[in-house]
């Protein structure tokens, strides 16, 4: 029994902590002990429910590498995770969950490289996208503008397209939404597709349903329309957002 316990501690890299009390362990070490404890029951299947979600990013790796090691034992494991790189690296079957059920499933190659359904495709593509969150009027405006520039540079988005994205982002956030929202929460997600040179910006915001295309002032609306190929507004709820604008940019409109 003792030897079996020590072997498991060894496996999660914590044999030298055998005589320590729990409060003497770091969060990552506690999580690894929890894994060892599970293994001690010699289960047929192990379920991990977001094993790294509550951990400091710096110690996510140590827990992930223990789980990675476990895959070598051939034990069946089911892992719920938001860490896509991790899922891709260690799984042989991926279930993408959306809308309260299994939305798409397949091998990691199928799901990550050739997703068949829209939401999966967007999710997978979103891995390369830029997400900006504004939670107060005093947000770091210049920092965000710099982030957009960096994102555009990194993805070799032309200066023209970058200018359009930046104008529309500023116009929408500074001029149209912030003055209007009582306690602003705005999320902007920018996606760029190299294949067709098209960029898409999805802007979600809270508050009463407010269609800027309908109620914004003339100049601001013209600014949005003049710089985009297509804009659609949707009052659908998503998390605590109640409004969603989708804007499409191309180099030539």
């Amino acid at each position: 029994m003792y030897a079996a316990g020590m072997a498991l501690l060894q496996m999660v890299g914590l044999s030298e902590k055998a005589m320590n009390y729990p409060d003497e362990l770091s969060d990552g070490q506690k999580q690894r002990i929890a894994i060892a404890r599970t293994l001690a029951m010699d289960p047929e299947i192990i379920l991990f429910d977001e094993p790294t979600s509550a951990l400091d990013p710096t110690i996510v790796d140590e827990v992930q590498s223990v789980i990675r090691e476990l895959t070598k034992t051939g034990k069946t494991m089911m892992i719920v995770t938001h860490e896509m790189k991790f899922a891709r690296a260690i799984c042989n079957r991926v279930f993408y969950m959306d809308g309260g059920g299994i939305y798409e499933d397949g091998t990691p190659e199928q799901v990550f490289d050739n997703p068949k359904r829209e939401n999966t495709r967007r999710f997978v593509r979103r891995l390369k996208v830029l997400e900006l969150n504004i939670e107060s009027r005093g947000y770091d405006f210049l920092g965000m503008a710099a982030e957009i520039r960096q994102y555009c540079d990194k993805n070799q988005i032309s200066p023209k397209l970058f200018n359009r994205i930046r104008f529309v982002f500023e116009e929408l956030v500074q001029q149209m939404l912030l003055p209007k929202l009582e306690s602003p929460h705005i999320q902007a997600v920018i996606e760029y597709s190299e294949a067709d040179g098209q960029a898409m910006m999805t802007v979600r915001y809270n508050g009463e349903p407010y269609d800027v295309l309908e109620h914004g002032d003339d100049l601001s609306r013209a600014m949005l329309k003049g710089n985009t190929k297509d804009i659609t507004y949707d009052a659908a709820a998503f998390d605590d957002f109640t409004n969603c604008l989708t804007l499409v940019f191309t180099e030539k409109q």
């Binding site: 200018n163 104008f167 500023e170 500074q174 001029q175 002032d217 013209a222 003049g226």
Partner: protein, 98 residues
């Protein structure tokens, strides 16, 4: 963050703008053009203007309206970035740009 530099030469008022003209800075320019008594020619020098939002465009429109009554307005030294905004927004046809 916008500097407004005014130079008056008889009836000609030149306003050079430096920096960003957006929702936070455009009101400063709006104040400056409130009183245009005796101005027959208004010139905006935009050489060092790095950004213009619709709030800025709105003030330019306001200035254009005022000057229609008492003289002329022209915009000079428009850089490429600002020019693109003018063209996109149809301002290239409204303003006299040199």
């Amino acid at each position: 963050m916008m500097n407004i530099i005014k130079t008056r030469d008889n009836g000609t008022l030149t306003i050079a703008l430096e920096g960003r003209m957006d929702i936070t800075t455009a009101p400063d320019l709006e104040k400056e053009i409130k009183d245009l008594d005796g101005v027959t020619e208004l010139i905006f020098d935009l050489e060092k203007l790095t950004y213009i939002s619709s709030a800025g465009l709105r003030v330019l429109l306001l200035a254009q309206k005022k000057m229609n009554k008492q003289g002329s307005l022209k915009v000079i030294h428009v850089n490429e970035m600002v020019m693109e905004v003018f063209v996109t927004m149809g301002f290239a046809d409204i303003l006299t740009i040199e």
